[in-house]
Symmetry: D5
Subunit: 148 residues, 10 copies
């Protein structure tokens, strides 16, 4: 059976062969590069119109296009603690700064969380004379614990 | 023996008893609230001047003030996969979006990483009519793999 | 230092010695028994008025009452897979029915989740001639993934 | 060899291709949507009549229909701590509220458990002006520890 | 605070010092040696009368006697895979024979389980000229999966 | 290469297709149903005569029959903590009653273990007006620690 | 409460302070140095006479001497994969040679195991011009799987 | 691609089909049965002459013979804690006797280890009227920690 | 789909068949043997010119050559704690000397790390009359924590 | 009881209070700073003369000085995957470059390992106009697998 993982691998293979960029694909479908990349990597669901466009870009079959519209079993990493250095640095930030972020969200908002669902992200280059910087902006809705 | 963890617990106890805010403490020592909170939670090293100020705010002993200047064994979470919902949401973002962030850093910069050491972070409230949002901005130096 | 865990243990000891019931304590403070029990077990934050009442019921000190108002590091179980049979049965339900619940939430609502923050729960006895049943009702806000 | 997992994957592929809904399939075989979905996902055993109906709906072979009647090795998740956000939220509820549920079952019933075998579940939409809610009702027979 | 674990340790210390046998203690309180041992080791709840008798045998305080009547957080082993050879042999039986037991329960009864709650156990010496044998008899209620 | 696991899967497929029962197969080869099932599931070694009979019942090739006579790498479960409810209940018994069984074996026999090798098991139905019960009898040789 | 671990630590402290050797202690009580060391480290049970002698050597209390006669919860290592290099080398031998040992035991004896209970061990220095060698001899009773 | 694991599986299949014994194969190539078995199971490297002989015995291709001469990624077990009873008994010995072996090596040799590389092993049958015994002799070079 | 792992396996197979050495391949492409080996094993990215040369040496297809230029998901080991003795010795050095290295980096440089990205490594033979030695030199840029 | 860990903590506390440097302490006792630091952190054994000197520097008791001469249970990190960024970078090097190092040791030396026992290490500052670098040199005896 064709799985969502097969679709991801097919997309990655076509992307390399044809030299596409994620930002170009995102521009074509009119969405952010973060959302489109996450969807192509099997972590998000596209609506029918977008799935059709993605299907045309990567020569997907009808069933593969249908799969892009089905909520996937999420989680893109093969191990609990990621081994890839790029991704590990993010995990390290959670490990080192996690309690700090928790304290500051509680100080500003009270007892609740930043949603990872009603959430968006922006990754950009920050020019810097001492060496350019990666900037990651995250924005998630604040959700308070419900008292009942 | 007094450990850095004991200093963290003493600071937290004093902070609750006296009703301090992290942002007030940060303002007093003239650094960002993110850095100061991380240091007070045992994840960063303060220089002597700041350690003295922190020591006065929280009535620390000379040895406790010295401990604030010693690089700690970092890692603020008790388990590999964090159980606290605020911190888990960050881990979930790494799990779901990790490969996306990796792809986009590589697309923009080439083969390298965002440093988690030459790094800073800013946590703010983003007003929104549909419910305010938590905004987390991260900025880390881009480091390329060295070819040799 | 006194931690939130110490407060939980003190509350449990007093509760056993004095023969209190969670439902009675909940009635006194005018909240649901589920919320009050979770708070007394160190998983929720009480506002000042409720914390004062809890403090009087269990003879807590001012600092212990203050601790009840500070968002705790959540997670009430000592192991990833719970060993206690009551709690394991809930974990088994997640293991066996998890993908079923995911499918049915997606079928009814689309791609999103049931919040565990804007969430409430009700545990009641369901009389049944073949043996009474435990009924657990959960209700959480539906949150859709944000497209951007 | 064809395994139960192969049957599950075949059913999922046919369901997507033909646009079936779990609730429609359940209505056809005259059982709840929760039970039928769990069975189609490889977690429950159908009796011969139901297995035949499921087999017709999804064009299964005789051996595949026979497999639906054999108790499967249960457990539908690939990791101990689920990575999918929908399912993780359920795990988080067990982690945060597990000890609360244990306390309240013991307070109401005494020392025993809620069965996860003599068990049923109902998932519905709860309309709410502030945003619809997911409602999950669980009902399991109370079983007391036997003294001997 | 005194915990159930403290009571277990106190009972074990007294038992060694005074040379009691579990079977003698069980005979005094009129219950099986398996149940009484499990309770004294912190895994079962005694009713008030039995708890009083246990309290007298081991010089327990009133609070310790009260603790014996409170359902404990069960699980008597310090690691997921037990390191003690006696207990590991039981785990090995589950590992080697687990699928066999599952097959034979399903063959005899259908799709369901042997309860570990409505359960009793008997451990005896089986004289044998080639070396005596340990005999463990387990009996648990059969519970069928509920169709709904 | 054909592995023992392949033989197990072939046997299971044939058994379902032809509607065999483990007890019938055991009766044909003149051994207990527990031993024969464990062997067919890849956990035991058959001698040549029995392997030939099993081979005829399930149409095995000569190499597959040879494999049945080779000691396998034992362990029949895919995870350390079993996820299947039938098998988990056995693991729960080890978790909850493990220290009890250890105490009672030591009280009756001294410091030693119940062998899981020189071991046999019997699984039967125990009729009971309140609902039939599963009875599992285990018998293993007592082995004392050797002093030297 | 005094535990067996406390007795082990007390013995180790006394042994260092007084400069005893395990082989001398073993000679005094007339048993092998391997057995006596294992017992002093909390892994074996001594009979009353030996426990008394050990008690005199290390100034143990009556209760500590009694504890030496009670079967301990075995397992002397703090982690599943040992971190100490001496002990890791043994684990590495199991990891690298485990399947070899299994094959050769089966070739010589048939389907069964080497007992780790009816077992003894001898550790000696093997003089060698290229550097002395550590020699470990293990001898365990062969146990065949019982057919039934 | 053909991997070393494929070679191991091919050797095992041929060995069963042709009824070879490890000791016979070892005799043919003039090395110990322990070394030859470990090499055939993919844990050791053969030199060219021996690899050729092994290749002839098992009809290996030139590439498979070349693979036998390449240092493999060692580790012959599928799990950290081995599930097979023969191999588990060895792991249990490490768990129970590990600290004992460490103490006695240090007492005899000082601070250092027994090498698992400059190492050999001998597995033999030890006739015994009470039941034959498995004897495993290990000999590894003593290596002292270097002071610098 | 062809993955980077497939390219690694193809390179390893060709290398064995043709008897190449890593140092020869490195010399051909004009880079260090450490970098080239890491790239061929799937851990580094080659630029187009080098990828073409590697492709010619190992008869790679155009897509395989393209894959060598795409940043891989790094991490070359199958388990968290490596089982291969060569690699385990490195892990043991981290385990035993890790805190020492941390102390000495902090003493010399202050609070910061040695980069594993802006990093190079050199592995050489160190002749020694008592037995040659392996010398591993690592050099990584010092990165200080940023104060903000 | 005083353990080796207590001695380590006492040494660290004194070192901070008195402002000692590891390199100064090493100079006093005439050994390398790497060895002395490792010993003070509880990972190495000092001979009597050095232990006495260390004892005088840190005001240790006679028993604490004796403990410094007893081989410790090695392993200086609290988790399998280290959380501290300095130490994690070393672990990442093992993860990413482990197979590379293995290949190059085998290419230069044949099938064997670099000893982590007959081993020394040197950590120095490497001045560099683009930012100073940390240099770690490791040297371990090559040990070949013994054929027998």
């Amino acid at each position: 059976m064709t799985t969502r993982l097969d679709v991801t691998e097919k997309i990655l293979e076509k992307k390399i062969l044809r030299g596409f960029k994620w930002s170009e694909i995102a521009a074509k479908v009119g969405l952010s590069k973060e959302w489109v990349t996450a969807g192509c990597l099997g972590q998000m669901t596209f609506d029918e119109a977008v799935a059709q466009q993605i299907g045309e870009i990567f020569d997907l079959t009808d069933f593969e296009i249908a799969l892009l519209q089905v909520p996937p079993y999420r989680g893109s990493l093969p191990t609990q603690v990621p081994t890839d250095p790029v991704i590990y640095r993010l995990y390290e930030i959670v490990s080192v700064y996690g309690t700090t972020i928790k304290e500051l969200i509680h100080e500003e908002f009270g007892d609740g969380i930043m949603s990872a669902i009603d959430f968006e992200m922006d990754i950009t280059r920050q020019p810097d004379p001492k060496g350019d910087r990666v900037k990651i902006e995250m924005s998630g809705k604040y959700l308070a614990y419900r008292t009942y």
